[in-house]
């Protein structure tokens, strides 16, 4: 291993993370052109946004404890009923903050 100063290691880490992330973004876009646009594959791609976001949330929400569950449920309900992302998000944060304030 080459010895890096902490400063160099910091920049190298950021550089690697940035390169990886950008490569994933661009290759997704460029490779998609070679993939079929109809049938099962299209259904798969159409379903992905929702299922990925859901997979991102669910374990984190479960780990947030009872107050977190309540907050998540009400955030989701609010979003479903009003369609307002900001208000829904605020509902969740206020519930969690209130819960912590009262030591729940």
């Amino acid at each position: 291993m080459i010895n890096l100063t902490p400063e160099q290691a910091t920049w190298l880490t950021i550089f690697c993370a940035a390169t990886i992330t950008y490569s994933l973004r661009l290759s997704g876009l460029l490779l998609a052109g070679r993939l079929p646009k109809t049938g099962r594959f299209k259904k798969f791609m159409d379903a992905l946004p929702g299922t990925i976001l859901l997979s991102l949330i669910v374990p984190a929400a479960i780990g947030a404890g009872p107050i977190g569950w309540l907050a998540t449920a009400l955030t989701g309900l609010c979003s479903l009923k009003t369609g307002n992302v900001f208000v829904s998000m605020l509902v969740g944060i206020v519930i969690v903050a209130a819960g912590r304030w009262f030591g729940l």
Partner: protein, 240 residues
């Protein structure tokens, strides 16, 4: 239809409405960005290093994990691998944007794709099937989210000493809250029930079985596979 080259004026208009459409979400991006800033300050990152990380990586959850793993000597390989896993979804996000970039020049793809985050992508895709949208709308959103992300994180970094316990204000929960609020814009009806149930279940199970953030990719792909293979009309063909 598209006989005339699109006027720059129209691009500017789309850039503006894209920016505006993302303002609301950007507020929450700024909020959880401030939490990242607080954490980064504690780990000894300078505000300038954080700013460069924001501009070049521009991926919220990955940056949270990076800062979380930020102990000297820096585990560069591990951090890079973690970023690869968490951001694997950008491969799919990039692919899902293909129809939007249909017929666009390669240099536009190369430039515009960098400013694609979960938030402006979600808002653009939610609009995609309902009304007109464009890569300029996407970019406007990207600029908005990027601006909020940078302001929020830098503010958090600078105020690191003032707010010593962001958890008390529920700021750490804003990540879950914003994505929960966003996910329902993708709910198209009953046909989504089974794929979503499968995605959630697989995410929970794989989160406890697998290291890192593989559960995001596992859950997302299994749910979407169910959507692809669940019978809508009677079909006999199973070949690909």
């Amino acid at each position: 239809m598209n006989n005339n080259p699109t006027l720059p004026r129209e691009h500017l208009h789309h850039l503006r409405i894209g920016f505006t459409a993302n303002l609301v979400v950007a507020a929450s991006v700024g909020a959880y960005g401030s939490v990242l800033g607080l954490l980064a300050a504690q780990k000894g990152l300078t505000w300038f290093q954080l700013l460069i990380m924001n501009l070049s990586v521009f991926a919220g959850s990955a940056q949270f994990v990076m800062v979380d793993m930020w102990f000297p000597p820096l585990p560069i390989m591990e951090i890079t691998l973690a970023v690869l896993i968490i951001n694997m979804r950008y491969l799919l996000i990039g692919a899902s944007l293909n129809p939007l970039f249909e017929g666009k020049a390669l240099y536009q793809k190369i430039l515009f794709i960098h400013l694609v985050a979960d938030e402006n992508w979600a808002i653009t895709m939610a609009r995609f099937h309902k009304t007109t949208t464009s890569i300029w709308f996407l970019l406007g959103g990207g600029i908005c989210v990027q601006a909020a992300w940078c302001s929020g994180t830098i503010l958090g970094h600078r105020l690191g000493a003032v707010i010593s316990n962001p958890e008390q204000f529920g700021l750490d929960f804003s990540f879950v809250a914003v994505f929960t609020a966003l996910v329902f814009s993708f709910w198209k009806g009953r046909q989504d029930l089974l794929p979503w149930l499968v995605a959630a279940t697989v995410a929970i199970v794989s989160e406890s079985l697998l290291p890192g953030k593989w559960y995001i990719v596992c859950g997302g792909i299994s749910g979407a596979l169910v959507a692809a293979f669940q019978p809508v009309k009677p079909e006999g063909r199973t070949d690909d």
